[in-house]
Structures are given as structure tokens and as C-alpha cells.
């Protein structure tokens, strides 16, 4: 079976560029949004996105066996690991300059997701994004983040409740 990655395996060759372009076009936007939402920094998101695809190309033998869906999860796994490496290295400046949209006319009920994300921990941001935006189930999130499936379930439950608390209306004082 020939996956599209086999053609993109050798980044140096001219032949691989078209296949890589297709792969990149299919996945780059969603991974970039994920990195942007979790890190909240445009420069970090740009850098980690390039690094994610760069690592994919350099470890193409492992990735060549994967189909399109698994490859997508693999890319999210790389991106997640890179984000964690960044936090571990001490570069944890979150939201210095909100990358996005103070007001969004398209948001229903004016739920301010950006402000809510600001209050969550990075891991909670990751889990909520993968669950709600990427539509992944627990097993897929587990594959994409490297967390145990049961841990995903618990952490996602907590993150969801926390998110709802931030978005819930303030109780009127009696």
C-alpha cells in the first residue's frame, strides 16, 4: 500500500513536493489553529507548526505506514509534544498579546472562548480543543496526546466543567 507520505518522505527531492503540499494543505490549517489556541502566540504557533511537519518528514519511515486519519493524529501528537517541550523548557508566557479577535460577530450567545481559554491550563485547552473542534473521541484524543484513555476521560470531564463554570452566568446576589 502506498500512502501519500511515501512520496513526501524525502523532503530534499523535487518529486515529493507536490505530495507534501497536499498533505500540508489538508492538515496545516487545523493544526495551526490548535497551536494558536493552546499557546495563544502567533510566533510560537508558526514555529511549532513548521517543526511538526519538519519532524514528520524526518521520521517518515514510521509515518509511512499510517493512513490519512492516523497521520492526522500523529501530527497532533507531535504538535502536542512540542507544546509540552516548550512549557517544560520554561517558555510558558501565555497570552502576552491575545492573538485573536476581541469581539467576534459570528459567536453565538457571545460566548467568549478566547477569554475562557485564557483561564484554563494548557492541557485542558488541548483536550477541549481536540474534543470540540477536531471532534475526536477519547481513544483518538488518547492517541493524539499520549495520555491514558481513562485519564483523558477524567481530565476532559473536569476541563469541560471548568469551562462551563467560566462561561456560566454570574449568580445574582440576594
Amino acid at each position: 500500500m502506498h500512502s501519500s507520505l511515501e512520496h513526501a518522505a524525502a523532503p530534499a527531492t523535487v518529486l515529493s513536493e507536490l505530495a507534501f503540499q497536499r498533505l500540508y494543505d489538508a492538515n496545516a490549517t487545523s493544526i495551526h489553529s490548535y497551536l494558536l489556541a493552546v499557546s495563544a502566540r502567533r510566533d510560537v504557533a508558526d514555529d511549532l507548526l513548521q517543526e511538526t511537519f519538519c519532524r514528520l518528514l524526518l521520521h517518515s519511515k514510521t509515518a509511512a505506514r499510517l493512513d490519512a486519519l492516523e497521520l492526522r493524529r500523529y501530527l497532533f501528537r507531535i504538535a502536542t509534544n512540542l507544546l509540552r517541550d516548550r512549557w517544560r523548557s520554561g517558555d510558558t508566557t501565555p497570552f502576552p498579546d491575545p492573538p485573536e479577535l476581541a469581539t467576534n460577530p459570528f459567536l453565538e450567545n457571545s460566548i467568549d472562548i478566547r477569554a475562557m481559554l485564557h483561564h484554563l491550563k494548557p492541557r485542558e485547552r488541548e483536550l477541549l480543543w481536540l474534543a470540540y473542534v477536531e471532534g475526536m473521541d477519547h481513544a483518538e484524543i488518547s492517541a493524539a496526546t499520549g495520555l491514558n484513555r481513562l485519564s483523558v476521560r477524567t481530565l476532559l470531564f473536569r476541563a469541560r466543567n471548568k469551562a462551563k463554570q467560566f462561561l456560566a452566568p454570574a449568580r445574582p446576589s440576594l
Binding site: L57, N104, F106, M116, L128
Partner: protein, 119 residues
């Protein structure tokens, strides 16, 4: 802080819709870097890794050479120092120390230069 001015507690569907709308707005507002930049970065890294792999035996030999020179010098000093050092005059001793220091510094400089990343 009340982030939801409609005073409706969000359920899962609301949250999902809001997340996806935000994601759409994010991807509209920010385009990812071009694929060519990634290819260029991967190519540059691949070349650097290939160069490092090629230089590894040379680096090993240089390190071994440095260690060999160092321990040989130490052994020679240990072997002959009681007999020869007292016979050397001050100028000779200073010259010997200077030569040894020069050789060791040269070895170190070679190692340091070979480890410097290329431009």
C-alpha cells in the same frame, strides 16, 4: 466575571458550536506559513544531520587523539621527570612547558573548531 451576557448556561452543543466558530475565525484570521518554508527547514536539518553523521568518526578520532596526547604527556612526565627535570635549566623547563601547553591548546582548538555549527 460574567463572560456570557445572555445568562444562559452553555450546554455541550453550545460549547461545541462556540469552539468551532472560534476555530473558523482563527483559521480565517491566521494563515499558516507556506509549505515551502517547512520543506526548506526540513532540507536544511536533513543536511545538517547528514553532515554530523559524516563528521562523527572524525570527531571520535580527534577526541581519542586528544586523550592519547594528554595521557602520553602525563606518562612521559611521570617516567622521566625525576631524572630529566632536575637537569633542565629554567629556560629549558619553561620552553618544555610552553611547547606542551601549545600542543594541548592546538588539540583543543581543533576540537572546538570542528564542533562549531556551520553557517
Amino acid at each position: 466575571m460574567n463572560l456570557n451576557p445572555t445568562n444562559i448556561p452553555p450546554n455541550d452543543d453550545n460549547l461545541r458550536r462556540a469552539f468551532r466558530t472560534y476555530a473558523a475565525a482563527l483559521s480565517d484570521a491566521h494563515t499558516p506559513p507556506p509549505a515551502a518554508a517547512v520543506l526548506f527547514r526540513a532540507e536544511r536539518r536533513r543536511r545538517r544531520q547528514a553532515l554530523e553523521r559524516a563528521e562523527r568518526p572524525l570527531l571520535i578520532m580527534q577526541t581519542l587523539g586528544f586523550l592519547f596526547a594528554f595521557f602520553t604527556a602525563a606518562w612521559l612526565i611521570y617516567q622521566f621527570a625525576p631524572h630529566t627535570l632536575p637537569t633542565l635549566n629554567t629556560t629549558g623547563l619553561a620552553l618544555a612547558i610552553a611547547c606542551t601547553t601549545l600542543v594541548l591548546a592546538g588539540c583543543w582548538a581543533m576540537l572546538h573548531a570542528s564542533r562549531r555549527p556551520f553557517a
